[in-house]
Symmetry: C2
Subunit: 189 residues, 2 copies
């Protein structure tokens, strides 16, 4: 029996766009990111339907299945809220010990990483940069360029997402534009 | 504290080549693939140091760590053993229920898949094709093109590899060149 699957899923190797079956997309607008940026007044003065990022996910497993994987691409638009670069909410995994791979497809970004004691470091993202995010490490994408930042990702289907720890405690630093360049500042700044 | 990791790992988005720390490489020659191809006499008549495929792996976890992931690229050269296309050994995961993602970076291939009851199907591989290999499914790459087949992969660090089931039972079909095109034939053919 020769069977070729008629429904094929594709990832555009230039921009990371996923197409085909089992692909879903979600969008995060400025209106949905209340409290994440340092300058809340600046965020409120901007059009609330401004898309900050989109996430596409290829999922052939249900969330929570052990041994399974998900595959996705994050598209983070360029922009500023006040002087702070557009960024994702960031998350830990609900099952904290679960890892994730990121690889940058296009654009220029910062991958901000912190452990559960808020020790942090960052990694430079550029086309072809590869990033292993081990368990117990929260991660956030920041677009410090002038074009879209596309990042491929693969993670366990039982990892889950914990956004609340980020809402409650934040990351220990913010990435702001200063003299035309990214600068790291304390989160209270 | 601003720390940028000085040692960066990169994946070449055009050909899948990994470079930087934590990357290892292994090679499979014709001499190491005794018993995998249908025409063992043809295999023996060829130079035994002919490289059939290379695998690069980025590993920041030890094999067996729960929740972790590995990332790699397989490079399968074009060629024939008799009329059978160059292919990988193929494997199940030692922890059978573990999944894997493949995505084709360059070349033209066939992804041969079979379950533990030897039910099989195949998926066409071409640049940008995305393939989810669920748990309990053995998988083998076959290069049916004239150039190198590069395939990206991500899999759980506790998946492990079971090659022995393939050695003992084989896949139910072989992919051979017939009239210049791939054809699927029974493994006894």
């Amino acid at each position: 029996m020769i069977v070729e699957k008629s429904l094929e899923t594709r990832v555009n190797l230039q921009d990371g766009i996923l197409s085909g079956p089992f692909v879903s997309e979600s969008i995060r607008t400025l209106g949905q990111l209340k409290g994440f940026f340092g300058d809340e007044h600046a965020r409120m003065r901007m059009p609330q339907d401004t898309v900050v990022y989109k996430v596409q996910v290829h999922a052939k497993e249900k969330e929570g299945v052990s041994g399974g994987l998900f595959f996705g691409t994050s598209f983070l638009y360029p922009g500023l809220v006040g002087d702070e670069y557009f960024m994702t909410k960031g998350h830990f995994h609900a099952r904290l010990f679960c890892a994730e791979y990121y690889w940058c497809i296009q654009g220029n970004g910062v991958l901000l990483l912190m452990d559960t004691d808020a020790n942090w470091h960052w990694e430079r993202m550029y086309p072809g940069s590869l990033h292993y995010i081990p368990g117990n490490v929260g991660h956030r994408l920041i677009n410090v360029g002038d074009s879209i930042l596309s990042v491929g990702a693969c993670w366990p289907s039982d990892a889950g997402h914990d956004y609340r720890s980020i809402v409650e405690r934040g990351f220990p630093v913010r990435v702001k534009k200063a003299d035309g360049k990214p600068a790291f500042t304390g989160s209270e700044a």
